[in-house]
């Protein structure tokens, strides 16, 4: 019994992914098309660098959802992968002058490489201990980045990251066109996440999330699967972090601090976990809100976002996406079955 108890003390996510998995294929295709349209239209309606922030944070949140919503692992150190890629991308772009997508892919690969030892140690623990190990690693990376001044610029950060793009000047100077040049990388990350969760591999992840002991008894090496999804997730976070740093033209220690790890978890939970849709939704809410509050000159941003977070968690326990999906499902099932009066 004691073994069973320790085996199942992982983050409970309920069966939040169940409704989405059974989505009508037409509805799913419609949603994908709509999402694509929104993402394509974004810089027309929103200041393009902010639009870039939304999709970058959205992808970052997807990398968290892959772990939290689909495997039951809460990483509290994902800034390590986002930030490492931000720096590595910047270094490649500055020193080699290669086109920025190449630099970003390089950053993502390095993020995956450092995720291997992190994951290897972290997956041996579950629940809060897993979160602590990932946090410890992230703090270590932060410390190293802070000390290696010659490489990272220390507290000044890495300035002047170029947006080299095959000599196409409009992309390199105009954030509007840069958005469209960088968007494929974001979509690539989202696609990898989607492929991961909808493959047989993803089914094993769900099995591990729902009951690790049972998955092991079925013959799956649970630790190996967790490491693999952890590395995939780090790569996706790396893609997002690379896009973010090129978009801003600099990489700073802000990308590596634990608050960044916390913020992305907050965004993911806010949007709703276990569907991949929630993260980008949460990112849109948080980034827009921060942008609005920052431009309003109010300096208590944290208080506002914190209060909203508390409210949403209290009112919508499944996050924005989960709550809306439940509502739609309820309305539709009410439409299908006639009321009691008719019976």
């Amino acid at each position: 019994m004691s073994a069973q108890l320790t085996e199942t003390t992982h983050v409970e996510t309920a069966a939040s992914s169940a409704p989405d998995r059974r989505l009508n294929p037409f509805v799913r295709a419609g949603l994908l098309l709509l999402a694509l349209l929104v993402v394509l239209a974004l810089p027309w309606y929103i200041y393009p660098p902010v639009a870039m922030d939304i999709v970058a944070w959205g992808l970052f949140a997807i990398s968290i959802d892959l772990l939290l919503g689909f495997t039951g692992l809460l990483s509290f150190g994902h800034a390590a992968f986002w930030g490492t890629s931000a720096y590595v991308t910047g270094l490649i772009a500055i020193r080699s002058g290669l086109p920025f997508p190449v630099a970003i892919l390089g950053g993502a690969v390095v993020a995956m490489l450092i995720a291997v030892p992190t994951g290897y140690l972290a997956v041996r623990r579950t629940g809060i201990y897993f979160a602590m190990v990932t946090l410890a690693f992230a703090q270590m990376i932060f410390f190293i980045a802070n000390q290696a001044r010659d490489l990272t610029g220390g507290e000044n950060g890495l300035q002047g990251i170029p947006k080299s793009f095959f000599g196409i000047e409009t992309v390199e100077t105009d954030p509007f066109y840069f958005y469209y040049a960088a968007l494929p990388l974001i979509l690539l990350g989202a696609f990898i996440a989607w492929r991961t969760v909808s493959s047989p591999f993803g089914r094993v992840l769900l099995a591990i999330r729902d009951n690790p002991a049972r998955a092991r008894a079925l013959g799956y090496d649970v630790e190996r699967y967790k490491i693999m999804v952890f590395v995939i997730s780090a790569g996706i976070a790396g893609l997002a972090g690379g896009v973010f740093s090129v978009s801003h033209g600099f990489a700073s220690l802000q990308e590596l601090v634990w608050q960044t790890s916390g913020k992305v978890v907050l965004i993911t939970v806010l949007g709703g976990i276990g569907t991949l849709w929630g993260g980008p939704l949460g990112a849109a809410v948080v980034v827009l809100l921060e942008d609005y509050l920052a431009s309003s000159g109010f300096n208590g941003i944290g208080i506002i976002t914190g209060s909203i977070f508390v409210l949403i968690v209290l009112l919508f326990r499944k996050g924005i996406w989960g709550t809306v999906a439940d509502l739609v499902a309820r309305i539709r099932s009410r439409g299908r079955t006639p009321g009691r009066r008719d019976a």
Partner: protein, 235 residues
């Protein structure tokens, strides 16, 4: 005498300080159904979990086909051909019947049952193949739980109280299925409290009380002494 498949030798198991199993020795041969009968808390489930490698605080040895399982993790044991059917049945609610069946890796290509063969043995699962795990009745869930390791190609099934909470007519169906899969060369170690049910499916019985095997006997002896044995076990 058929080929010996599972050998549990003087196994003791502990939950923290408390000892739940004391020097338990049992064995199961190919194509044989062996039971562990005893009341709640006798240590039956712990024994199954120890064989599966999910309960690790043990002493003594467990061997499959003559090779020791000591130090092997649960996933390695599953790949050697042990299939665990837990008492909660372990169906994944988010997956359909067919997805549940295909979830475990095929551990033995030759022993693995094809989906057709599964559906032939469990016709109700064919009807329900696209149903999510939650929409099944208790009996259907039990059948799915038993079919899953067969699909993977397990040679030894560890069944934890398959009759629990099921209507008598379903229980007798489950009994028929156990006899069927046994005749196809699969060995079964069955944990039961339902003595009547146990006597309809098993070749041999081990009576477990307070973590010890107090009696091992074949089915004939078991049937003729049922009342006495039950009193002895306090059931």
């Amino acid at each position: 005498m058929a080929e010996r498949l599972l050998t549990v030798d003087t196994l003791s198991a502990f939950h923290g300080e408390a000892q739940v199993l004391r020097d338990v020795s049992i064995d199961v041969s190919v194509g044989e159904v062996v039971t562990l009968v005893g009341r709640n808390g006798a240590g039956k489930t712990t024994l199954l979990r120890s064989i599966m490698g999910l309960h690790k605080n043990t002493r003594g040895s467990i061997a499959l086909d003559g090779t020791t399982l000591d130090g092997k993790s649960a996933d390695k044991r599953a790949r050697l051909g042990i299939g665990w059917v837990p008492d909660d049945r372990g169906i994944y609610a988010t997956l359909t019947v067919e997805e549940n069946l295909s979830l475990p890796p095929v551990v033995d290509k030759d022993a693995s049952w094809s989906l057709d063969r599964i559906y032939e043995q469990f016709p109700v699962l064919r009807e329900r193949r696209d149903f999510p795990g939650t929409k099944l009745s208790g009996g259907e869930q039990q059948m799915l739980a038993m079919a899953r390791p067969l699909r993977a190609g397990s040679r030894l099934l560890l069944l934890d109280e398959p009759s629990e909470g099921l209507a008598p007519v379903i229980v007798s169906q489950i009994g028929q299925i156990i006899r069927d899969i046994r005749s196809q060369g699969v060995a079964v170690l069955l944990v039961e409290q339902n003595v009547k049910f146990a006597s309809t499916v098993a070749d041999r019985h081990n009576l477990l009380a307070q973590g010890e095997v107090v009696e091992s006997l074949d089915n004939d002896a078991f049937q003729s002494r049922t009342t006495e044995l039950l009193q002895h076990l306090g059931m």
